[in-house]
Symmetry: C2
Subunit: 212 residues, 2 copies
Amino acid sequence: MDSTKPDTTSRILDVSERLFVEHGFEGTSLRMITQQAGVNLAAVNYHFGSKDALFEAVFLRRLAPLITACLTELDVLEKSSTPTVEGLVMSFIRPCLMLSKDPSRGGAMFVRLMSRTLVENHRVLRDTLSQQYSVFVDRYNAAFERVLPGLSADERAWRMHFSFSVMFNAFAGNDVLKIFTRSQVVSARDPDMIVKHLLPYVVSALVAPARG
Amino acid sequence: MDSTKPDTTSRILDVSERLFVEHGFEGTSLRMITQQAGVNLAAVNYHFGSKDALFEAVFLRRLAPLITACLTELDVLEKSSTPTVEGLVMSFIRPCLMLSKDPSRGGAMFVRLMSRTLVENHRVLRDTLSQQYSVFVDRYNAAFERVLPGLSADERAWRMHFSFSVMFNAFAGNDVLKIFTRSQVVSARDPDMIVKHLLPYVVSALVAPARG
DNA sequence: GTCTATACCGTGATAGAC
DNA sequence: GTCTATCACGGTATAGAC
C-alpha cells in the first residue's frame, strides 16, 4: 500500500515509541502496536523476543545518543576554562532540553517517558541501564570531584544522587503531590522553569559548605 | 480453622497490604490475594468494587494517620519557640520515620510503597489524594511562608515542590540510576542517612538567598 | 447481606504450518 | 519471515446458594 514502507522492525519501533509515550508501558498492548504497524501479532515476539525487550529497544535507541551528547558536553567543559558547578549541571540539562525540542527523536514526551521510567526504576530496565552506562557515572563523578573539592566522596555521592533524583523527577513532570504550585498550572517540563528554578535549587544544595 | 479470624474485609486488607508491598500493584493478582486470605475471588469486587479501589483502601488506611501526625507536629512547632526551616522539614520526616519503624502499621516497606506510589503518580490515586489532603498542602505552605519570608510565593512553591520530590524519592529508595553510591551499598531508606544527608541537602536548597 | 462458582474478554507468549 | 491457532493468566461481572 504505502510505497515508503520501512522494514517490519523499524515500523514496530516507531509505532511502539509513540504508543508507549501516549499510554505508558502497561497501557500499550502488543495488539495495539501490531495493528497500527500493519504487522502480525507474533512479529513483535519474533523480532524482539518479548514486550519487555521491545520496550528496552525503543528506550535505548534514544538514550544512547543522549548519553553521548552529555559526555561531549563534559569534554568541552573540561578542556576550556575552569568548570563550575552550574556549568556541570547544565552539561546534563542542556542535552535533555535539546532532545525535548526535537520531535524527530521523540521530543518532549519521550524525555518525560524516559525520566518516568528512570524515576520509577522500571523492572524492564533495572539491570540493563545501571551496568551499560557506567561510563556516564564515572565521568560525572570525576567532574564533580573537581568542582567540589571540599566534600568527602560520601558527601559528594549523596548530593549527586539527590540532584539527579530531583532533576529526573522534574523532567518526568509528575508533580509529586500536585502541591504548592496550585496558583499556576505551570509544568515542571517547561524549559524556562528548569533554568529559572530547578538549576538554582540544585546548585544551591550542591555548593553548600560541608558540615564539620 | 483459625479461631482468631477477623471478618472478610479486614483479612483482605491485611493480606493485600503485604502482597502489594512485596510484589507491587501490577505484580499482585486478585487470585493471589483471595487465595492467601482464604476468601472467594469475587469477595474483593463485592467488598471494594475493584482492584483499584482495594489498593486505595489499603493505602488510605495508613496515609490518613500519617498526615494527622504531620499536622500535629506542625501544631507543636508553631506554638512553641520560633520555627526553623530544619524544624519544619523534620516535622514531615519524623512521622515518616516513625511509621517506618512500626511493623504493625506497615513498617518500612509500606513507607517505601507509599513513596513509590506518590512519586510514580499512580493512576489509582491521582485524583483522590490531591484533593482529599489539601489541608496538608495549605498548612505546610503557610508554615514555609513564615520561615522563608524572603521568597516570592512562586519561588517558595518551586522550592517546596523540589524538596518534597527529593524526599519522597529518597523514601522510595529507587536509587534513580543506581549511581554515585557504588562504593557503599547504603540504602536511601536508612534513617541515619536521612538525617545525615537528606535533611542538610533540602535545607541548603530551601534557605539559599533569593536571586535578584 | 454475604458468599460461591463460573463465565467473559483481553493480555503476552508460543508452537507449528507455510 | 510470516501467519494462524492456541495457551495460561489477568480483572471483572453475574447468577444463584445460603
